[in-house]
């Protein structure tokens, strides 16, 4: 199965700033997914990223807050914009089937 590398693994950010999270896959995949896990909660899908088209966002998530890029079949980025403490979460990317990246643990202060 594919191997996913996610960067950064963790970060502490000031409110009002933005953070871009990178997800690199070692093989070409059609779909990449971005999830959020708030403290003590389950995982929630943010959006699906297909190469060559705009990402599809789930209810409650908007492009202005979570812009996503998918420039090729092995790479995607998720930006968390204008951060507030409520954005403190683990952000994970995944691909077509099984694997998840190791996640990005974000703390906003």
């Amino acid at each position: 199965s594919a191997v996913i590398s996610q960067k950064p693994s963790r970060d502490i950010c000031q409110r009002g700033t933005s953070l871009t999270i990178q997800c690199q896959v070692d093989s070409q995949v059609t779909m990449m997914f971005w999830y959020r896990q708030q403290p003590g909660q389950s995982l929630t899908l943010i959006a699906t990223a297909n190469q060559g088209s705009e990402a599809t966002y789930e209810s409650g998530f908007v492009i202005d807050k979570f812009p996503i890029s998918r420039p090729n079949l092995t790479f995607s980025t998720l930006t968390v914009s204008n951060m507030s403490p409520e954005d403190s979460s683990i952000y994970l990317c995944s691909v077509d089937t099984v694997p998840f990246g190791s996640g990005t643990r974000l703390t906003v202060v």
């Binding site: 997914f33 389950s42 995982l43 683990i90 994970l92 995944s94 089937t97 694997p99 998840f100 643990r105």
Partner: protein, 110 residues
């Protein structure tokens, strides 16, 4: 969308005990996975099991798709089994995007 319910929400076991975790889902699925998230946040896939039974060491899982439930069995539990166990499914309309249950938080004490 499809609903995924897990039970129990919390479980405390003494080392060596056995346990059964349950996952109910509200519609037909084409994929069901069990994950373990350890106390450091790492999410590990345990089973891909849309139907049938699989075993891996002390862990086994059974999915009865026609009755819309899956069970995860943990035998001879160890402290390293502690963490949160998630069930996640994909339905025909969701492609490969996973819908997660709220998880079962397991603590195994020495």
């Amino acid at each position: 969308g499809i609903q995924v319910e897990q039970s129990p929400p919390d479980l405390i076991l003494q080392e060596g005990a056995n346990s059964t975790l349950r996952c109910n889902f509200s519609d037909s699925v084409n994929n069901l996975q069990w994950f373990h998230q350890n106390p450091w946040g790492q999410l590990i896939n345990l089973f891909y099991i849309p139907s049938g039974t699989k075993q891996n060491g002390r862990l086994s899982a059974t999915t009865v798709a026609t009755e819309r439930y899956s069970l995860l069995y943990i035998s001879s539990s160890q402290t390293t089994d502690s963490g949160v166990y998630f069930c996640a499914v994909t339905s025909l309309g969701s492609g490969y995007a996973l819908n997660f249950g709220k998880g079962t938080s397991l603590l195994v004490t020495p």
